[in-house]
């Protein structure tokens, strides 16, 4: 029996405390050479795609720009298009916000990127509703939270109408007869609804993939439905066996009602990794990495995000505050997605306090524990085993790997883990085709 094939993608580490910028090996996060390095490593390892996240306003906390993590990132489209010049097969995926863009413009850019990469573009569709980010845009303001998926879905469907406004056979370019455009209506579109009231002629003829690969993340009920109805790939938060299987079967089970098969949606949890010659070495390194990722100051800043108040007078090596989190609409941290994950701050604080008391954890130790992400730690064979087992057990279709050092943090994985996965027959040794859709097994 052939083994289920693993899909792997590489995330360029961005603006978060996963990234260890203080590591002596850490390079620039903005010079193009760093992007080239990581992308070429991912391509050498036959990964499906390179992924770049986006943020449209610098994060703030306590009314000041947050300065402990990497700050600064490039424009998504521009850096992906440049990477198309220095790679040949690797998919190029970027986050583009559907709130502070217009569908005509985004569709034009993605169709252009798909042409310029010969069919390797992917779009991670995200939404934002916050007025904080809106202050950087003409549109300004905000989107009521209950409209975020509505607009995102409408945005995406409008973009699809634009992509589909060319079938692909309209250009004759016949020098003899002088007919360039065979179909005088090529690119005609009209879309009128509550969000978008647009019509005209779309200027980019059909791209190699027809439409870019659509990636989505989102764990709410609406998010799962949105993914099941429209996405080609989904970034999940569940990389462990049981949670992964539950998410996997739930989301894949939703596809049938949209006339889709389970193979048409690829589920990819994000995961970090730390390798060592032995499992013990790896765990020792992982401990050091976690201490680098969560400094004392970082721990206090994290705690402030839940407590929603200034805790700078607290000792990170001391106990949690006696007081409860401050409730209310005002949040001291702005522009950080994770802030919204604390749906019930009081209950979360109670859990954290119980955990800290049970294990005698300081603030910093607690934050190290509660912010741990899906992580593969071990020797190359241990990590290869773990990844393969999770995929074969349908806990995921693969992983999006987030190295903690830029840009060389993927090299060890490419050199030591990928060959083991290939030996097992679980991972490709050559790209199966030219486009990202080919790599992902999509139509």
């Amino acid at each position: 029996m052939t083994r289920k094939q693993i899909h792997l993608a590489a995330h360029f580490p961005g603006v978060n405390n996963t990234t260890v910028w203080s590591d002596p090996e850490a390079g620039s996060h903005i010079e193009f050479s760093s992007f080239v390095k990581l992308a070429q490593t991912a391509e050498r390892a036959k990964f499906d795609f390179f992924f770049l996240a986006e943020g449209l306003r610098l994060r703030e906390q306590n009314g000041e720009i947050y300065d402990l993590d990497v700050v600064g990132r490039p424009d998504t489209f521009t850096v992906l298009s440049a990477l198309a010049a220095v790679t040949e097969r690797l998919g190029l995926a970027g986050t583009i916000n559907s709130t502070f863009n217009e569908p005509f413009e985004v569709a034009r850019q993605f169709a252009s990127l798909d042409h310029l990469s010969a069919g390797r573009a992917a779009w991670n569709v995200v939404t934002s509703w916050d007025a904080f980010t809106g202050e950087n845009f003409r549109r300004g303001g905000f989107l009521p939270q209950d409209q975020r998926y509505e607009r995102a879905e409408t945005f995406l469907r409008t973009a699809w109408e634009l992509f589909d406004s060319w079938r692909g056979d309209e250009i004759a370019a016949d020098a003899g007869s002088g007919v360039f455009l065979r179909d005088p209506a090529a690119g005609a579109f009209a879309h009128h609804d509550a969000h978008f009231d647009i019509e005209g002629r779309f200027p980019v003829p059909r791209s190699p993939q027809g439409r870019p690969v659509i990636i989505q993340a989102g764990d709410s009920e609406e998010g799962r439905e949105f993914a099941a109805s429209t996405a080609d790939a989904i970034f999940s938060r569940y990389g462990t066996l049981e949670a992964g299987q539950a998410f996997y079967s739930d989301v894949k089970g939703r596809l049938a009602k949209y006339g889709r098969t389970p193979e048409q949606l690829v589920i990819l949890p994000a995961a970090t990794f730390v390798l060592g010659d032995t499992d013990a070495d790896a765990h020792e390194r992982a401990h050091v990495v976690r201490r680098q990722q969560v400094s004392g100051q970082t721990a206090i800043k994290f705690l402030e995000q839940l407590w929603n108040t200034d805790l700078s007078s607290y000792d990170p090596d001391g106990p949690l505050p006696e007081s409860d989190p401050v409730l209310g609409d005002h949040t001291i941290a702005r522009g950080r997605a994770s802030v919204r994950m604390y749906r019930d701050p009081l209950a979360t604080a109670r859990e954290w306090r119980q955990l800290a008391e049970a294990k005698s954890l300081s603030i910093r130790e607690l934050i190290i524990e509660v912010t741990a992400r899906q992580t593969f730690i071990g020797s190359p064979s241990t990590v290869a085993d773990a990844i393969d087992e999770l995929v074969q057990a349908d806990a995921s279709d693969g992983f999006i790997l987030v190295p903690h050092v830029t840009p060389g943090g993927l090299d060890e994985f490419a050199d030591r883990v990928v060959p083991l996965l290939q030996e097992r027959g679980s991972f490709r040794t050559e790209y199966p085709g030219a486009t990202l859709r080919d790599h992902l097994g999509l139509d």
């Binding site: 943020g55 440049a82 005509f104 990469s117 202050e135 003409r138 020098a175 360039f180």
Partner: protein, 398 residues
């Protein structure tokens, strides 16, 4: 070097509507990276200063105010110019890359980081040409607002309120936001101070707090200050209103004189506007745009153009002067007009590759023979090639 700076304007298969039908044209490849890489490399082989990449939010027309997409006998369909420039950047090393960007319907925050990123991926060779879009067809692609109509006669009178003047005033605000965002990071904002755990010094990041008539932008940018500090901003201008935009906002303005006397008059008008804008002491390059049809003899060039005109069914017309002749004749014209105060030229090849290679392999050696063009690149950045210093950051404490 005492000669003019030379840029080349790339648009599809060339500027003549029938250019795509010429032998050697690659009309089926205009949407591929290979085509654009080849033509920009050809320009670089000629040591030209920069290329501009035309763009539009709509399908192509023969004349600016025609209805987009109506003609089936001209090139239809194009790719985003910023993305073409980025795609070509890693495969070239010295030539400046100046994509066109429509500022009427786009977000200055997005364009600012896109051009900054182009500057990173090209290690200091990015510029931008800002363009307004006043047609109803462009508006309908965004559905956001109605524009009162684009009347060319309004462009001659800066004093008269008109929708057209508003478009250009908005564009000036847009460029101001681009520049402020590029400056919103001081060059040394990234400190990586392990002792204090700080990646950046937040005192060196600045809110731009732009408040204008059409939009407001808070800042700072998400992208650090680009290698050139501020990539050069360029604009095409035909009349007083756009001259004013260029004089207020640009580093290079492309103008369209019909002869040497007209060139002198335009330069004088631009310089007056520059003084009015308080920028009299700054370098503002005035480039003359010329469409070129070149041949080894004048007759050969004229025959080529006649053949193209016949294919198109009409004599070629342009906003810019149309030159038909030999590279030596073109060199004569450029050096003559340079004497009228133009600091460079943006040549629009009638057909690519023919007229592009006639520029790089005919005109360039001709100018070199007269000591009027570089034999090698003297700088690694576009600012360097244009003789523009890297600007100080407006927000940095002196």
């Amino acid at each position: 070097m005492t000669g003019p700076r030379i840029a080349v304007a790339l648009d599809g298969a060339g500027w003549h509507p029938a250019a795509w039908r010429e032998p050697g044209a690659r009309p089926g490849e205009l949407l591929t990276a290979g085509y654009w890489t080849d033509v920009v490399r050809e320009a670089e082989a000629g040591k030209l200063d920069f290329v501009t990449l035309e763009d539009s939010l709509a399908l192509q027309t023969v004349h600016p105010l025609d209805r987009p997409g109506e003609r089936d006998d001209i090139v239809q369909g194009r790719l985003d110019a910023v993305l073409i420039a980025a795609r070509v950047a890693p495969l070239t090393s010295h030539i400046g890359l100046v994509p066109t960007a429509v500022v009427t319907h786009t977000e200055p925050f997005h364009l600012s980081k896109a051009i900054a990123t182009l500057d990173y991926v090209s290690t200091g060779r990015a510029g931008v040409r800002v363009q307004v879009a006043g047609r109803a067809e462009d508006n309908r692609h965004f559905g956001r607002r109605e524009f009162g109509g684009f009347r060319l006669e309004d462009s001659a009178e800066p004093g008269r309120p008109s929708p057209l003047r508003d478009l250009f005033d908005e564009a000036a605000d847009y460029v101001e936001v681009l520049r402020r965002l590029w400056d919103s990071w001081e060059d040394d904002a990234e400190i990586r101070d392990v002792a204090t755990g700080r990646f950046v010094d937040r005192r060196k990041l600045h809110y731009i707090d732009f408040e204008g008539r059409w939009f407001s932008v808070k800042g700072p940018s998400i992208t650090p200050r680009p290698p050139q500090g501020q990539p050069p901003v360029t604009a095409l201008a035909h009349a007083a209103v756009p001259y004013r935009l260029a004089a207020r906002s640009a580093d290079v303005v492309y103008v369209t004189p019909s002869d040497r006397a007209r060139a002198a008059a335009i330069v004088a008008e631009v310089r007056d506007e520059q003084d009015l804008a308080g920028r009299g002491a700054e370098t503002l390059h005035v480039f003359g745009d010329v469409v070129v049809f070149l041949g080894e003899t004048e007759q050969a060039a004229a025959d080529r153009k006649a053949r193209l005109d016949e294919l198109a069914g009409a004599e070629y017309a342009s906003d810019a002067h149309v030159f038909t002749g030999t590279p030596a004749g073109l060199a004569d014209l450029l050096l003559d007009w340079q004497g009228a105060g133009l600091s460079g030229f943006r040549l629009r090849p009638g057909a690519v590759p023919h007229d592009l290679t006639a520029i790089t392999r005919g005109l360039v050696p001709e100018l070199r023979g007269r000591g009027a063009f570089r034999t090698g690149y003297e700088a690694n950045t576009l600012r360097g090639l244009l003789g523009l210093a890297r600007p100080a950051n407006r927000y940095a404490a002196v």
